[in-house]
């Protein structure tokens, strides 16, 4: 999906600039970009809209973000921002709406093996109060007893209570066990509202190095495969369609195609001389691996187009200038503007640990499909120890030659208070600079200013360090004449 109007010089523009640029797009391109292609071509399923379309709906933060100027990025934004509308459209077209909670990407391939389903993650409503700069969802959660001592994921409970953010799901599949306590509280609130919930049991995973290990991975894989199987039974009941192994295999292949493209995209983004795409586009691309934003086939097209754009830029050596400091970002920032802020400070995000590691590995295609899903889930960011997560972050740093790590924590979550200190310590023991901040709730400008100050100081320090290192290297290089002597 490219046109002659494509501006080939990569840069980041704001919502108003995209609005102007959008006017030059050919109408044919807009008409040809639509979701749920299996339902035919309709006006209502078009999604190639500029970010400005969503501003009047309350997504105020879009006015502060910077977007990539490619049509591929526009398509990604349109696809991402139309997700909630898409779920309503699915319901209107008789599709079954399945809410997934807590597994963060592991269960979607199973759901999509049942025809006529749409999966979504209410957990991801945690972006919404920030995107809308509104406390509406938090206030609603507060009225159900989840206040500021609960993670931002409480916005999901607000969404369930208001019943205007997404249609009432036909089934909620909630993961319980080695997940965070805050989400468990959110799920209890949803249960209290009378929703049809299937619980997926997720025991913690013992690391080999843990002295208190109590079971092998083989036992756990077998157990989890059984949990996937039970979930398939619940889905069969709700959808009225029998489970079909062949369909699950096909769904896994499709999921792998998306995951593989995302993996290549990440590698290319990190390995190119100049950053070929922004951190915001990368995080929203990464999160497409969770539920494909409701349409797996379209998600593949969107991400493959983004990949092609990045590949093209990289082959021509094009990218954003003046982004020398290479960062790994740990824990997804509930406030996505933070990513733009660090980019404005001269940084680029070359690696991440957004708590979705279970959605990254390619799933086995030759083995029993439930076992394949179980093995994929074993990579979960939060189901193992904090050491495991620290190792994931260190691996990102080493693979992507990062200069430092930013950890964006969440006040009141159950894992951040315990793992942050340990991760910081693990990184520092390897001389990897790290800064840890807590994301401020929307509207708390003074609080956020402190975090931004710290981020700025960190970025300046890394930049200075990098310059000094470069200077020293330059001074150490002998002149040609001296070498000859």
């Amino acid at each position: 999906m490219t046109t002659d109007n494509q501006d080939y010089s990569p840069r980041q523009i704001d919502w108003q600039q995209w609005h102007q640029k959008y006017l030059d797009l050919p109408p044919g391109l807009i008409e040809e970009t639509y979701y749920f292609r299996h339902l035919g071509k309709h006006n209502w399923s078009r999604y190639l809209f500029p970010p400005s379309t969503f501003v009047p709906y309350g997504q105020k933060l879009l006015r502060e973000l910077r977007f990539d100027n490619s049509e591929a990025a526009l398509r990604l934004w349109g696809f991402t921002l139309s997700e909630w509308e898409r779920i309503y459209r699915a319901r209107q077209n008789g599709m079954k709406v399945i809410a997934l909670m807590g597994d963060i990407g592991a269960l979607a391939p199973l759901v999509y093996s049942f025809p006529g389903t749409v999966a979504f993650y209410p957990d991801c409503l945690w972006w919404t109060p920030f995107m809308m700069q509104s406390w509406e969802l938090f206030d609603e959660a507060q009225s159900a007893g989840l206040g500021e001592d609960c993670c931002f994921v409480r916005a999901a409970l607000g969404g369930f209570r208001r019943e205007v953010w997404f249609p009432r799901p036909d089934l909620v599949i909630a993961t319980t066990g080695a997940t965070c306590d805050d989400l468990a509280a959110v799920i209890a609130g949803i249960e209290n509202l009378g929703h049809n919930i299937h619980y997926f049991e997720l025991p913690r995973r013992s690391n080999i190095a843990d002295r208190y290990q109590t079971g092998s991975d083989e036992d756990l894989i077998e157990f989890l495969a059984g949990e996937f199987q039970k979930t398939a039974e619940s889905l069969a009941t709700v959808t009225g369609t029998e489970f079909d192994e062949k369909r699950l295999r096909n769904s896994i292949v499709k999921s792998n195609r998306l995951r593989d493209t995302l993996d290549r995209l990440r590698v290319m983004n990190a390995s190119s001389v100049l950053p070929p795409i922004g951190a915001l586009e990368m995080i929203f691309a990464d999160f497409s691996a969770l539920s494909s934003y409701g349409d797996p086939d379209e998600a593949i097209r969107v991400i493959e187009e983004l990949y092609n754009e990045v590949a093209s830029r990289t082959s021509f050596g094009m990218g954003y200038p003046n982004r020398d400091v290479r960062l790994v970002w740990a824990t997804p920032p509930a406030d996505p503007s933070l990513l733009c802020q660090v980019e404005a400070m001269g940084c680029r995000i070359v690696g991440s640990e957004y708590l979705i590691n279970q959605s990254r590995p390619l799933l086995e295609t030759g083995s029993d499909p439930f076992t394949a899903l179980a093995k994929g889930l074993l990579n979960g960011s939060l189901m193992g120890s904090s050491n495991y997560r620290a190792d994931l972050i260190i691996r990102e740093v080493e693979n992507n030659f990062a200069d430092g790590v930013v950890i964006s924590g969440i006040y009141g979550s159950s894992h951040c208070p315990w793992e942050t200190g340990l991760i910081v310590k693990a990184l520092r023991s390897r001389n990897i600079p790290v800064v840890s901040i807590d994301v401020s709730p929307p509207g708390r400008k003074r609080e956020q200013a402190q975090s931004l100050n710290r981020l700025k100081a960190f970025c300046e320090m890394l930049s200075a360090k990098k310059s000094a290192k470069a200077t020293r290297s330059f001074e150490r290089v002998p002149h040609a004449e001296e070498s000859a002597l």
Partner: protein, 365 residues
């Protein structure tokens, strides 16, 4: 070791318990720490070890800087701190069942800071319809682990005896509680005692006395994870009495087993894996029904829920519990280990006073 019960005005049971515990602690018997109510304490008893309930004292209320943030559960972080300062120097091993995310992360932290062998048993969060071999193996392998780590011979007979004895203890404690013959203070002491079930049965046999008349007191149900402050004293000073204790120090530890006779390991699985009702489990409704039924059957006229700050399973469920139980409700958060109890006194006093006025009003009508 639990020393939360009042040093003053002890009953015969409490006085004798203290004497026996002092002797037991001097016996040189290996000590095994346990934390959560889902820990199969019978495994420790069957191995002939001394069970030590790991309740940190009030002096260690801050984890060493940099390790754990202040928004961690104050009970979990205080317990982790206690290991930093070697507060439990004589432990041979630590055993615990799995409940919430913070509890497992606390265990991870403790395992990192001590060399004491530790076992965190994975138990189901959901209520399984049948025995699941994965979780059954968790208990079975822990039984063998205890033998290996402690170097003690264990047998199925000794485990069967430990299971049977503790079940008898539960049945008796439940009966006494229903009849009002065992105070909550005594219950806490039994729940945290270093004596095994055999010792506790003998103690009760020797010391149970006719209870004092508390008919004038406001009958309360106490809920929550663990109670660090002297809440029972405060409640009694305010004219209340805890008739049902759903905390991890109270009646919930002495629920009568519901499952039929089976092998010892399967009975432990049934009790700790399937029957244990608590708000951390899903769905949450069975635990809520159970708490409501218990509070009402004990004739409570009000509920006090107290949880350590940032304890999510109880703290974040408080509103649902309140609405579900439907009795007058007081929710308190306690910085575990903090000695600042005036705030608790004021609020509990106001609550019992309100209930007292309500009762007087009803009587007058």
């Amino acid at each position: 070791m639990n020393k939360s019960y009042n040093e003053h005005g002890d009953s015969a049971l409490l006085k004798r318990l203290r004497e026996l515990e002092a002797v037991e602690l001097q016996s040189g018997k290996p000590q095994v720490g346990w934390i959560d109510r889902r820990t199969p304490i019978e495994l420790i008893e069957a191995a002939g070890e001394m069970p030590i309930r790991l309740f940190p004292s009030n002096i260690h209320n801050e984890k060493l800087p940099g390790a754990v943030r202040s928004d961690a559960c104050s009970f979990c972080s205080t317990l982790a701190s206690a290991f930093d300062v070697n507060h439990f120097p004589h432990l041979s091993a630590i055993l615990t069942g799995s409940t919430c995310d913070q509890m497992r992360r606390m265990c991870e932290e403790v395992a990192r800071t001590t060399t004491i062998p530790m076992r965190l048993i994975s138990l189901p969060r959901t209520y399984r319809r049948s025995i699941d071999s994965y979780f059954l193996n968790q208990i079975d392998s822990t039984w063998h682990w205890i033998a290996e780590v402690l170097g003690v011979p264990v047998s199925e007979d000794s485990l069967a005896e430990a299971v049977e004895t503790r079940n008898r203890l539960r049945v008796w404690v439940s009966e006494l509680r229903r009849e009002g013959w065992l105070s909550t203070r005594e219950l806490h002491a039994l729940a945290g005692s270093v004596l095994n079930a055999t010792g506790l049965l003998k103690l009760m046999d020797e010391t149970i006395q006719t209870p004092e008349d508390r008919s004038g007191s406001i009958r309360l149900a106490l809920l929550g994870a663990v109670v660090g402050a002297p809440v029972l004293d405060i409640i009694e000073q305010s004219g209340g009495v805890v008739v049902y204790d759903g905390t991890n120090q109270g009646d919930s530890l002495f629920v009568e087993p519901a499952s039929p006779q089976d092998t010892p390991i399967r009975m432990l699985y049934n009790y700790y894996g399937m029957e244990s009702l608590e708000p951390a489990r899903r769905p949450v409704m069975p635990a809520l029904y159970y708490l409501k039924k218990s509070a009402l059957s004990y004739g409570a006229s009000g509920v006090i829920l107290i949880n350590p700050t940032h304890c999510h399973p109880w703290g974040l469920s408080a509103k649902i519990i309140k609405e579900f139980i439907g009795l007058p409700f007081l929710h308190l958060e306690e910085e575990y280990g903090s000695l600042a109890i005036s705030r608790l006194s004021t609020r509990i006093g106001a609550f019992t006073e309100m209930l007292s006025m309500k009762r007087t009003g009803n009587d007058n009508r």
